[in-house]
Every structure is written in C-alpha cells, then in structure tokens.
C-alpha cells in the first residue's frame, strides 16, 4: 500500500493560541480515516492545512510525495476538499458550478460532461442540473459540495463534517457513499458524530486540544468496546444472593429498581444461567443484554480528564 498523505510533526499557532500541536500521521491508499474531536479541537485547522488553505507554523505535509508548501499545484492535483461550509456560488446552477470546479481542476472539455454526470449520480443530484444553487435546501447544497470534491476523481478526498444539516435518510446515503468512495480513494472524514465514524471508517484518530490522543483501527477499537458485563432487568425483586452465587460473576451493581449491572469474568458468559434462574424463580425477566462500551465512552474517557483541569 502506498502512502498518500504524510503529516510530520505539524503545528499551527494562531497568535498565542496553539490550535494544532505537533501531530503526525499518514494515510495509505484505500483507507477511510475518521478524524474525531470535540468542537475547537483542531480538526478543521488540520484539514485546511492538508489542503493548503493554511500554512503550518512548523512541520511538513506531503501529498502523494509532494510537499504542500513547496509544490502546491502538484500536491493539490490529487486532492478533493469539502470544507465545513460548502464553497458554493449561489447565483450559478448546479451544472454551471460543477463545470467551473472541473475546469479549476484542469479537466479537459470531453471529460467534463462525463465527470459532472458521474458526480451528480453518485451524490443523488441527477435531474437537479438546471436548478439554481441559491434555491436548493441545505442538504442538497451539502451534496453539491461533496460532488465538487469527488468530481475530478482525486485519490484523496477530505470531507469536513459532511453530514451536517442533512436529514436521516440523506445521512445514511452519504455514509454509504463514503464507504463506496473508500474502496477506490483515500478518505479523511472529520466529524464529531461518533456513529458516523463507526459506520464508515477503517481507522480512527481522536484529536483533542490539538493533539492526537488515540489512533487505532476500527476493529481494535470494537474489541476495546466489548466488555465483560451484562445488564439485567426483572419485573419482581430477585434474590441477589442467588444471582451472586452464579459461577463467574464478580460483581452485582443495582442500577434502578430491579435493574442490575452484572460484571463477569471474560471467559464465562452467565447469561444462560441467569435466564434459567429467572424462569425457575419467576422473577419475570424483562431485559438481558451484554453491555458494550460505545465509542462515546472511549471518546469521553480520552477527552474528559483534560477538560477537568481547565
């Protein structure tokens, strides 16, 4: 796998404020990297630096082997960027706008029409070509922004919060699109919506206060998420001693009335036993589910301690 983006010890200062502090990472072809972080963590600053809209205070960024500061045009040729606010000209129609973007990226006349058609069909904009951008909804404008980023078939696509302002169906479509794009292109997806990362990314990076606090493959992260606890809920009050006596159960924590969190050893799963006991003792089993740490908890555990001493 070839490395498409290399970010080496990049920092960015705005006056005294350090927005991005010495971050390094790389992306290979065919990876979908989720770039997570709370508001103001430095996500957008990093994206803008990779796309050459901001110059790093120190460090270097290489795209396809070209330094973004020294060879900007060569580096940007392989780049498709959707900024936070889609860069649209409201007075143009969708087709006019996409044609302009194609020309900016140096597409030749014969290819431009095909590229526009492909971009529109991928982003669900077919039949919207003659509409004025100003008259379209936020969701459609966001789609035009994405169409613009993938128009010239770049090997790297950078999307800064692409699903903001979309309705749930559109969000699902866009996530599907991102997964598809990930097969042929490298994608960096910046977001603060966690399920989005879980659904569409192959690798996750969490940035907080300008520093990367976690960088891992999504499978490893999922493994971290499964833990050894169950949540049970009964209709009648169970005998806690009987529950505790089940093999492998280490701790029983009452949550609400008749609802418990049961910690157990990793090797054994007491779910079956609990169900049998509940039926035998007529406790009225209402809920029995393995507890999963979700991304939110990992995210919070990584970002919270820092917040507290500010």
């Amino acid at each position: 796998m070839s490395t498409l983006i290399e970010v080496n010890h990049v920092s960015r200062l705005f006056g005294q404020h350090c927005a991005v502090n010495d971050i390094s990472f790389s992306i290979s072809r065919g990876e979908v990297l989720g770039f997570l972080g709370p508001n103001g963590a430095g996500k957008s600053t990093t994206m803008r630096m990779i796309c050459g809209n901001l110059t790093p205070t120190s460090g270097e960024i290489k795209i396809n082997g070209y330094d973004i500061v020294e060879h900007p045009t060569l580096a940007k040729a392989e780049l498709g960027f959707l900024p936070e606010i889609p860069p649209l000209y409201p007075e143009l129609t969708v087709d006019e706008y996409l044609r302009y973007c194609g020309k900016l990226h140096g597409l030749k006349k014969p290819h431009i029409n095909k590229a526009i058609e492909r971009g529109k069909s991928k982003c669900g904009l077919t039949g919207m070509g003659q509409r004025l951008i100003a008259n379209l909804s936020k969701g459609f404008q966001q789609r035009i922004g994405i169409a613009q980023a993938i128009l010239h078939n770049p090997s790297i696509i950078i999307l800064d919060e692409p699903t903001v302002g979309l309705d749930p169906i559109q969000i699902m479509e866009i996530r599907q699109l991102i997964r598809e794009l990930g097969k042929e292109h490298s994608v960096i997806l910046s977001t603060h919506i966690l399920p989005e990362v879980q659904q569409s990314c192959s690798r996750v990076q969490i940035i907080h206060h300008g520093k990367i606090v976690l960088s891992d493959h999504i499978e490893n992260l999922e493994a971290r998420m499964s833990s050894s606890s169950l949540i049970v809920n009964f209709q009648h009050t169970p005998n806690q001693d009987i529950l505790k006596s089940i093999d492998g159960i280490t701790q029983l924590t009452p949550l609400e009335k008749n609802r418990f969190q049961i910690q157990h050893q990793q090797a054994s799963n007491p779910a079956l036993k609990i169900a049998e006991l509940a039926v035998a003792n007529r406790w009225g089993l209402l809920e029995l589910s393995p507890e999963k740490h979700n991304m939110e908890q990992i995210f919070l555990s990584l970002t919270q301690p820092d917040n507290s001493h500010e």
């Binding site: 200062l13 705005f14 006056g15 803008r48 796309c51 050459g52 809209n53 901001l54 110059t55 900007p72 045009t73 060569l74 940007k76 040729a77 780049l79 960027f81 900024p83 936070e84 606010i85 860069p87 649209l88 000209y89 409201p90 007075e91 143009l92 006019e96 302009y100 973007c101 020309k103 900016l104 990226h105 140096g106 613009q148």
Partner: protein, 250 residues
C-alpha cells in the same frame, strides 16, 4: 491558462447580477448626454473656427473631452465592480475552493483582474462607438483618437488593479469600494498642489491624471506608458502577496 475559468466565472456572475447591467446602462446614458452637449458646443463654435488656421478639430473638441469625462465616470464605478472580487470569496468561504484547487495564487489574481478588465473594455467599446459615429459626417484624427483609447485602456487596467488590491485587503465590499475610490481620487488630484515647490514634481509624477492627459492630447510618451504598466503590475503583485498572507494568518 488556469486563470481563464476564474475570469469566466467572475464575468458570468457579474452579468447575472443587476449591478453590471445598471452600470452599463447608467454610464452609457450619462456619457451619451455629455457627448451630445459637446457636439452642440462644437456646432456653435464651428462657424468661428472655420476662419482660423490650425484651429482645434472634432477630435480635440469632442473626443478628448468625452474620454476625459468617461475617465472620471470610470473612477466612480470601477470601485463598485472590483469591491466584491476577493471580499465576497472570503465571506462566502468560496475562497477555499480556489485555494485547494491545483492553481497558483497568480492565476487567481490574474483571473479576477482579467474579468474586471474585460468588463471595463466592454464599457469602453460602447463609449468609443459614439466618437466613431462622427465618421459618418466628418473625419477623426485617428492618431489622437487611438492614443486616447490607449490611455483609456491603460487607465482602466490601473483602476482594476488598484480596486482588486483594495478588495484583497478589505474585509467588507463597501470598505473596499470606499478605499479604492478614495485612493483613486487622491491619485487623480494629487498634482493640484502648488507647483512652485520642489516636492510638487513628485506629486505631478504620481498623479494619474497627468499621465492620462498626455495620452489624451495624442502624446504617447514612454514614461507615461511605463507609469501605467508599473502601476498595474505593482498592485497585482501586492494582491498576490496579500492573498498569500491569508494562508499565513496568525
């Protein structure tokens, strides 16, 4: 030429807004009225002039004043056309589309400049049609006329370059318009200072009007042409530097 798509889009947006059409219409109307009064004035003098040898002809009495008036009108309207060039891109965040595309800052600035210049040339074309209509009834001093046109072209390019620069430093279109109008007006009247002092030579050299008047009189001097070309290139380079500064912002 990577700047052509930018120039094309800019012109298109300009003509999609009512601003361009209003400016074209209003300026043409005013200049046509000025042209007619000038023509009237000439006709009233014609009888007296006929007897004098070496008296000024149509070109001196109609074309030169018309172009001179047109220059002042351009001074007023060019800031209105240039004010949005960069400020709007910044405000609508469309600038990031240009900055992440594989084009250089020079292409961006040159494209913007080209769009404004082409628009101003379209206006100049319609203005030039008025003196050309005199060919049906008489003869023009084509040398003087062409020198005047050259002066106008250089003047318009200078106005466009300065307006573009002001648009690149200002944060709001109106600020850009006021700043470019103020600067142009100052450069236009700077030679009004008392001509007896030594510093007035510098002021005379700085004045746009001085250099333009020479060309209008049919006097094509290298120093005047060089002044305009220096003026245009300096402000274009300054605009590129200013745009580059956006990426380095602290």
């Amino acid at each position: 030429m990577n700047s052509l798509p930018i120039a094309g889009r800019e012109l298109r947006s300009l003509f999609l807004s009512p601003l361009a059409w209003t400016i074209l219409g209003v300026s043409q109307l005013i200049l046509a009225y000025m042209f007619l009064t000038q023509l009237d004035y000439y006709l009233s003098l014609q009888a007296k002039l006929a007897g004098v040898a070496g008296s000024p002809g149509i070109t001196d009495l109609i074309v030169a004043p018309l172009l001179g008036n047109a220059a002042v009108i351009f001074l007023l309207i060019t800031p209105l056309i240039t004010m949005r060039l960069i400020t709007d891109e910044r405000r609508n965040k469309t600038i990031s589309l240009l900055l992440s595309a594989p084009i250089s800052l020079t292409d961006i600035i040159f494209g913007k400049f080209l769009a404004t210049f082409v628009f101003l040339l379209i206006m100049l074309f319609f203005i030039a049609l008025m003196p050309l209509s005199l060919l049906t009834i008489g003869e023009l001093d084509s040398g003087k006329f062409l020198a005047g046109l050259l002066g106008m072209i250089l003047l318009l390019a200078s106005f466009a370059a300065l307006g573009l620069y002001m648009s690149s430093i200002a944060s709001q279109p109106t600020v850009a318009a006021v700043a470019s109008f103020g600067t142009l007006l100052l450069l236009w009247i700077i030679d009004w200072a008392n001509s007896s002092t030594s510093s007035s030579h510098l002021f005379e050299y700085l004045s746009i009007a001085r250099h333009f008047e020479n060309l209008l009189q049919g006097l094509v001097k290298t120093s005047d042409v060089a002044y305009f070309i220096l003026f245009i290139t300096s402000f274009l380079i300054l605009s590129i530097r200013r745009l580059d500064n956006d990426r380095l912002q602290q």
